[in-house]
Amino acid sequence: MTNAQTLLTIENLRIEAASQAGGKTVLVDNVSFSLRRGEVLGLIGESGAGKSTIGLSSMNYTRGGCAITGGRIVFDGENILELSEAGNRALRGVRIAYIAQSAAASFNPALTIGRQVCEVAVRHHLVGRAEAAAKAVELFKALELPDPEHFGERYPHQVSGGQLQRAMAAMAMIAEPDLLVFDEPTTALDVTTQVEVLSLFRKLIRERGTAALYITHDLAVVAQIADRILVLRHGKMVEMGAAQDILTAPKEDYTRRLVAEREAATADAFVSEGEGGREAVLTLDAVTASYAALPRVVDTVSLSMARGDTLAIVGESGSGKSTLARVIVGLLPRESGRLMFQGKELSPGLRERSREELRRIQMIYQMPDMALNPKHTLLEIIGRPVEFYLGKSKAEVRARVLELLRQIELPEHFIDRRPTELSGGQKQRVCIARALAAEPDLIICDEVTSALDPLVAEEILALLRRLQERLGLAYLFITHDLSTVRRVANTVAVMRKGKVVAYGKTAEVFSPPYHPYTELLLDSVPEMRPDWLDDVLAARKGRVEATR
């Protein structure tokens, strides 16, 4: 096992966290792997699988309340768990560098990008200030950042998310480390940006022969960059092997489910179209809205949907899709245009709408954690709209909440629980129940699955589909995830900079001839073929410019 080529060996790693009850929770249990110089190992798993914990442990770092309680971590022949505080500092940033999920959160807002990028080299006295700055410019160039000479003078809020994520790669590479830990580095980016950032990361580590741990929940992303893949679940190893083997011939059942789910996501199976000639639920006619002093966020949008329809609004961040939802529910009054709901025009503002009108449109949010009051029980959360909109008595409310719990497939005894006792998927189910409690005709789902793990998200989508069949609801799905669209929507509207650029039946919008922007979006959804990224990059040259 030990030879000159081995860079990192982790043996029987065990990491525990002190739980609230005073006991210990095992986060990582008996994990062993090794990494050669220049090799990229993908760590795959859902949230809570211990991926980030393992990644950080390779720098002998644990987050608050956690501790490495067993095993060895040997980096370049040395057990780093025995390092002194000074030894740790000499390792971190210099020999092993970390690239976090959110560059916006990981850059200090008060300091310039250049200062933070050069910090490791300067503070560890590797090179002088001027030399570090020159090196940073060189890295900015390699990462294709705009105006590389002066990029470092800017503050983090002055550049885009994709640029900042690349700047973080520059920050990690400045000291030419032997090992990079990528922790979901493209998850927070739009699909089209993800492609660029991913290809630059790959170029950088290949050119410099840097080894990497690449942590992600997305099999298709890891397929583009990793030599080997380690699948984790609940802190334990599920299976490890060459990337190709894991993706095409997974041995373990859990891996097979992950792969199957990901394949379904890119398969060309569309939802059957609804029958025509049904009663229109919602019609938007040239609706325009903006926030004070900003250019139009929603620009002459016209859409229509009928009972039982699922209309998906897709677009990247900043396209105005969430604002459109706020306009429909009246949180942001429209400036002009008509908004018809079941044949009647709705007032622009929330306050002018009747309770009955409010009841008929409900909303489900992206973050179930933030959408639920942690101090309320499920009875209060789900019972409140029953009481508010339908004026039921206490006993009736309780009976209705129990019925709703059955509908969302949660046990009845959950009625007295609070959101903190539920998992992410269960919380989102509660949000669905709360929306259903008002007996609405239209539910607006704002990125309802993007905070959930793939398998959990799949269950939520299936639940929504069953409810729609049973209750004849109309859904307005707001999402940036095209695979969700393919699976749930019969009509789709593609938004870009406040305008609808493509609108129609999902099967039509998503098959040739495409609108160029739709094609760019579709092409950017990662596929599990390892050569997908190369194909996209080859196909993209020129076309990216054409659509910008």
Binding site: M59, R92, A100, S106, P109
Partner: protein, 315 residues
């Protein structure tokens, strides 16, 4: 950015104007007739009427307010009713004494509070943190006059290091002033340090939970560098506000300490003037205090604005 600063400054001027209205109105609605109070035993109806005319009290309040504000804006606060001397001249040395004590205390307390706060945050949960917290909490919990008397008993009387009375005179030299006003300064420092230190600690700790702080540690930076270079700049806004509030307190809230140490500051003048119904002096003191309070808060808000990189460097 400039727009925000100007808007804040304009708001400050408006507030000061509103304060001047309140001060003037407040001194007008004090019970009893001013002329009668001034004349005391000689208050025959004729004398009172003559006095009222002399003081201008027979004119409408609005007219008198405008006149008073116009003069005050030029530094003329009128004449004292008690001794007929010019109020501005009378108060100038008092104001100097108050400012001297305030600056003296601030120069010691603010850096000390910041350093202690940052250290307490860096050593969170350790002995230093607990001791610093407990000590400052104790100091803030004791009434300031009690602290003052404790210092007099132990430092002045028992150890004999500093005088009991801080009776500085206009001819006292700089170092003499430092020496004489040491104990009042120390009591003020003890009173205000806790608030600033705890706010520094709390806001640094809040920032310490940010991902960019974890990133700084993962770059192998030593803890003191992470705290001072990465956390502190982002924790400044709330700290600046609390510092300003305490500086304002040093100017407007030191009456008790001035009385305990018989220090001839502005607060004492105001208390004297109120008891003697010397309305022009009360008005002048009120206006000076309001101006100090409003200016310090305005400066703090502007500094907090300036400390925000998003406002300093727009996209």
């Amino acid at each position: 950015m400039l727009k925000l600063v100007l808007r804040r400054a304009a708001l400050g001027v408006m507030t000061l104007w509103a304060a001047s209205v309140l001060i003037f109105a407040g001194t007008q609605i004090l019970p009893g007739d001013l002329a009668q109070a001034v004349l005391a035993n000689n208050a025959t109806p004729e004398n009172v009427a003559a006095m009222r005319h002399e003081l201008g009290l027979d004119r409408p309040a609005v007219e008198r307010y405008v006149e008073w504000l116009g003069h005050a804006a030029q530094g003329d606060f009128g004449k004292s009713l008690v001794n007929q001397r010019d109020v501005a001249k009378e108060l100038a040395p008092r104001l100097y004494n108050t400012l001297f004590l305030a600056v003296y205390a601030a120069l010691i307390a603010v850096p000390l509070a910041l350093v202690l706060g940052v250290l307490a945050a860096a050593f969170q949960g350790r002995a230093f943190d607990h001791i610093a917290n407990a000590a400052t909490l104790l100091a803030i919990s004791l009434p300031e006059y009690f602290l003052g008397y404790l210092l007099i008993k132990w430092v002045a009387l028992y150890l004999g290091w500093f005088p009991v009375l801080a009776n500085v005179a206009p001819e006292t030299g700089f170092f003499g002033r430092l020496y004489l006003s040491f104990l009042p300064m120390l009591s003020l420092v003890l009173v205000i340090i806790a608030h600033m230190m705890r706010m520094t600690r709390a806001s640094v700790l809040a920032v310490m939970a940010s991902p960019y702080i974890e990133m700084a540690f993962l770059k192998g930076l030593p803890k003191w560098r992470v705290v001072v270079e990465h956390a502190l700049p982002n924790a400044l806004a709330p700290i600046i506000n609390v510092v300003a509030l305490n500086l304002a307190y040093l100017i407007v809230g030191v009456v008790v300490i001035e009385v305990v140490f018989v220090y001839p500051g502005l607060g004492q003048s105001m208390v004297d003037a109120v008891s003697k119904r010397d309305v022009p002096v009360v008005q002048a003191c009120g206006l000076i205090f309001a101006a100090a309070f409003i200016t310090l808060n305005m400066v703090a808000d502007i500094l907090a604005l300036v400390s925000n990189p998003r406002l300093r460097h727009p996209r």
